[in-house]
Point group: C2
Chain length 142, copies 2
């Protein structure tokens, strides 16, 4: 597991949404937006009670077949000097419940303390162990 | 090539940024934010003059090796009933210059009519031919 530096942690914590890329059975990239929080050096995303698309658990099936994933957070701004992105390549696994991760997710997202259940059914989480971090910004600082 | 319906076109045109997933040489997913515009039923993203990360042309090398890509646009909102995303699975190719695509990019992005050159060097564009569209929204309408 790669240690995340303080600036990377700050950018992750300030980003409510990330995009997760996994590999489908036919080798195609699969892409979906996710909510996530940090806990114990890993990133965690619950299979929550937000309505899901028909391909319900594609991300779970993909991760169980091939754990290699990429996660991207970025900032878009009409002033292109303010663009930045942060990509984490990592290994994902499916975890049945994790108290510390659940606490982190509820702390980051008030929605989980209100009307949205953290789990839509079984207590499933995608756990992403960072292996490599790439960071880019258009200006001098991100 | 899959025909894009009017609502898909509207969402694409209203989204200044998309995330592009390609497949790296080792089979890992590679993920990067891109600007893009529609032209002739395809999506086009220039290799422009914004500063680039060290892995300069990873997306180009990847597409030339394996044309299968996924592109995601999405809306994040603290009100989770307003979330939506749109994913396009397609085949990408690298094109040297395309007048219609350049016109579309300049029309969508005032930055290209101002200080940012449409091309950083050679006139290279990633052209994405849509093969499949998946659309999801949390509420009744996206």
């Amino acid at each position: 597991m790669t240690h995340l530096d303080a600036e990377t942690e700050r950018l992750l914590d300030a980003s409510p949404v990330a995009r997760l890329a996994t590999i489908a059975a036919d080798g195609r990239p699969q892409l979906v937006p996710i909510v996530f929080a940090r806990s114990g050096g890993a990133l965690w995303s619950p299979i929550d009670a937000k309505p899901k698309s028909g391909r319900l658990l594609a991300r779970i099936r993909n991760v169980e077949r091939d754990p290699r994933v990429a996660l991207l957070v970025d900032r878009y701004d009409d002033d292109w000097r303010r663009l930045w992105w942060l990509r984490i390549d990592g290994r994902a696994s499916i975890v049945h419940g994790d108290a510390a991760a659940e606490t982190s997710l509820r702390a980051k997202y008030p929605q989980y303390r209100g009307g949205v259940a953290l789990y839509g059914g079984e207590p499933l989480l995608v756990r992403i162990e960072p292996e490599r971090v790439a960071r880019w910004s258009a200006g001098a600082s991100s």
